[in-house]
Symmetry: C2
Subunit: 251 residues, 2 copies
DNA sequence: CGTTGAGTTGATGGAACTCAAATAGCGTGG
DNA sequence: CCACGCTATTTGAGTTCCATCAACTCAACG
């Protein structure tokens, strides 16, 4: 159970480390103006910015684990991290997938030792921002504190959205919602949202949606039968977004 | 759609208003040290405290509604407020029940017009704390900002807990978990947790858990058959908490 | 004493799970 | 490039759990 970030200690699973140099991929990062190095590099404000470290993760390797005292915010630069609930010991269900430009571990602010694990679904690059860094920054500008509250509140809203997806909808609606959600998030970061590649396998999707992989599979073929999507292995093509939304809302 | 708090305007449903005087019931309030009038009354720090207003709600009346620009934090002093998701127009499913000492509307920080409504299940007393008040306070003490982030993070954790309850467990497990959860929350605020009165009806419980009222009813009788609880209408008596936890975890 | 509404119980069907088998991808080595 | 083996995914058949609809109980109230 390694201590994460804050010092030189690295978690198991870290493959390599990049120097905090090229800001490529920062354009759509969710931190926005909070991350001075990304947004204001060259403006001379760097000294006041967040202290950021970058790490690379091989697929299946953990970014952080249940029990770790997570003292950093993680930002996905590339790849995909899946967050699993392990509050009841054994590796439980998947709580979320963090895509490029998105954040993890915001909820760890509430719980001293983390009750979740973050594992790379595919090879991933991640920015590590120590919480301490935020605190320093917020002392200088109260705006930062407000932004942080908003970020956490958005994380809570995401949890509520997943709740609505799984508690109130049937299998077909959940799968539709999942694909639509992925589509929107990819578009938000500047990636084409109509045709993309699933980072995760059917079991991951099933766990996330509270279904079985067989059911996910059946739903995908049903959506194909209705000419709403085309799926081949991990390649997804959304043919009729409006139809998908209809399926989602009417479930 | 009335603007909530912050001014003299009151939401529909407000029955009466108490002067902010007696701090009875503040002892177990979730705001803790954030609420100076409650915690430090008489210490001379009152001037630096939060500006608080109290309101009374008749059962079925709204504290705030979908579309309102909620600009305050609500603290339940007595009674029970149910929060319903209405992001898709019509009155949707129940997201949570706020019991005495607990908070609502934390998630409204993320969304300008609220996507949820807060309605009194039973006659209730509520403290209203303008967000502005928090901002003022956090300018003076950076500790307040950190506390606020923690509060929001805890709200997110609660959403995740409900998710785990409904997505990953069967009907019997959900009902067990619900009763155990109520029990723990009541105890936390100093109320006996083994024997209590349900504020909400079967339909509310069902909506919250993603079930039907008939199923909730069947589960309650099943738990009674196993000698784990005794239920008569709204009176609940938990006979065997360990057994209940077993049912919950094994579902 | 009849009415009303909440809650319980019973009977039935459908959606999703389970287990099992077939098929499709995909990397590896010949 | 193709055959091979491995895994992921799809498809099929039977079962389970919960929703649905309907009847019934019970307590409160006029």
């Amino acid at each position: 159970m390694g201590l994460v970030a804050s010092g030189a200690a690295t978690t198991t699973g870290v493959v390599g480390e990049d120097p905090p140099s090229a800001p490529a991929g920062c354009n759509y990062c969710g931190l926005g103006r909070l991350c001075f190095p990304g947004q204001l590099a060259g403006d001379g404000q760097r000294a006041h910015g967040l202290r950021i470290r970058r790490i690379r993760l091989a697929p299946g390797k953990a970014l952080y684990r249940r029990g770790d005292r997570v003292e950093s915010l993680f930002m996905v630069r590339s790849g995909c991290i899946r967050e699993t609930d392990e509050s009841h010991g054994a590796p439980g269900a998947i709580i979320g997938f963090a895509l490029p430009g998105e954040m993890l571990s915001l909820q760890c602010l509430a719980e001293a030792p983390s009750t979740t694990s973050g594992v790379a679904v595919t090879a991933s690059h991640v920015c590590v921002v120590p919480w301490e860094s935020f605190c320093d920054l917020s002392r200088e500008s109260p705006q930062v504190a407000t932004d942080l509250v908003r970020l956490v509140a958005e994380a809570a809203a995401a949890a509520r959205e997943l709740l609505a997806m799984t508690r109130d909808r049937n299998a077909l609606g959940r799968v539709s919602g999942f694909l639509l959600n992925l589509s929107v998030r990819l578009q938000k970061r500047g990636v084409r949202g109509r045709e993309f590649r699933l980072a995760m396998n059917r079991d991951d999707i099933a766990s996330y949606l509270g279904l079985r992989s067989e059911t996910v599979s059946r739903c995908l073929t049903e959506l194909f039968r209705r000419n709403l999507v085309r799926v081949r292995a991990k390649r997804v093509q959304i043919l009729n977004p409006a139809g998908m939304r209809k399926v989602y809302h009417e479930s």
